[in-house]
Symmetry: C2
Subunit: 193 residues, 2 copies
């Protein structure tokens, strides 16, 4: 989906001596690695494997309004306003997951989906991979949140969400990156508005 | 350091029934939680706690050149070009950690440090908190990499790094967000160049 130069194919300077799974649930597994680090010293590495791709959507209507979602984030113990986000299994087209998440959280369906970015969210410890889209040509239906979600949805000018990012009111990394990249694309006239 | 509206103080709709640590090393601990989700259903939550704050620095010299760092990221099993990054213990001023990381990785010291952003990198599972700065009034010294790091450093126009973000060549979320926000600030004339 995303066209880019391949990551440089440097030889991995780390050596794995031993690897043992220490935790597993429906969403993540954690493994403990005995390693030789790039300087030849012995060490350990705890790696968190994510079973889902993180999905983000920036819906943009004809008036350049968007939708954001508020929810309580359990790991942070705080409330967070974000672009519509969710997770999709590896091996399923992330676009399908994006369409499902947008519908569940906002009730929106979109005729046009524009790949926006993919990223690694926390690469010092986690292998989590994130994909985001811009959704256009929107139609409003009924939201269908999952039972683990207690969501609030706001419909507001996209420019206002850019300000929420710039002032630090939005702290979710996938939202920050997706909003700022969409903003840059809009400024460059990259897609028809 | 960062001035913003506080996160909304909604009541946490999750209830924690039980919590057990399942893994611990120098950088992270992982705990398994039995929970009642926001809809009242029983569930589990695996939470990854980070012992360090993630630190990122965008050094900008008088010609608007910057420095990026290439390294092999063990959890991703791939090479990654990023802004200078590292970790600093909670409880230590992240600015101190940023100054140390910039010096270690690039040999640079800076007279002016501008708080750029703070974010949560992966809030569905992790509590990882990230802080980034812009470093100005730079002086070049000798890099002092940690033994676990095998780094390459490039000195190049900041505008070129913006393009590396927009084309997806840079996939590290903290780098993507920090570069795009710096770019937006430059465009808005937010700080003297």
């Amino acid at each position: 989906m995303f066209n880019r130069k391949p990551a440089e194919t440097e030889i991995n300077p780390w050596k794995t001596l031993n690897e043992q799974q220490v935790y597993d649930n429906r969403w993540i597994s954690v493994s403990h690695h005995d390693v030789i680090n790039p300087s030849g010293g012995e060490g350990v590495y705890g790696v968190v494997h994510f079973k889902n791709v993180a999905i983000g959507v920036v819906p943009l209507d004809a008036d350049l309004y968007t939708w954001i979602v508020g929810q309580y984030r359990y790991p942070l113990n705080r409330y967070s306003w974000e672009i519509p986000e969710g997770g999709g299994p590896h091996g399923i087209d992330p676009l399908e997951s994006a369409q499902r998440e947008l519908l569940e959280e906002t009730g929106l369906t979109a005729k046009t989906w524009i790949p926006l970015l993919d990223m690694h969210l926390s690469n010092s410890v986690c292998d989590e991979y994130a994909v985001a889209y811009i959704a256009r040509d929107l139609q409003q239906g009924i939201a269908q949140p999952e039972e683990t979600e207690q969501l609030r949805v706001r419909h507001l000018p996209f420019a206002e969400v850019v300000e929420m990012v710039l002032t630090g009111e939005i702290t979710d990394a996938l939202s920050v990156a997706a909003v700022l990249k969409t903003n840059e694309w809009i400024r460059r006239g990259k897609f028809p508005l």
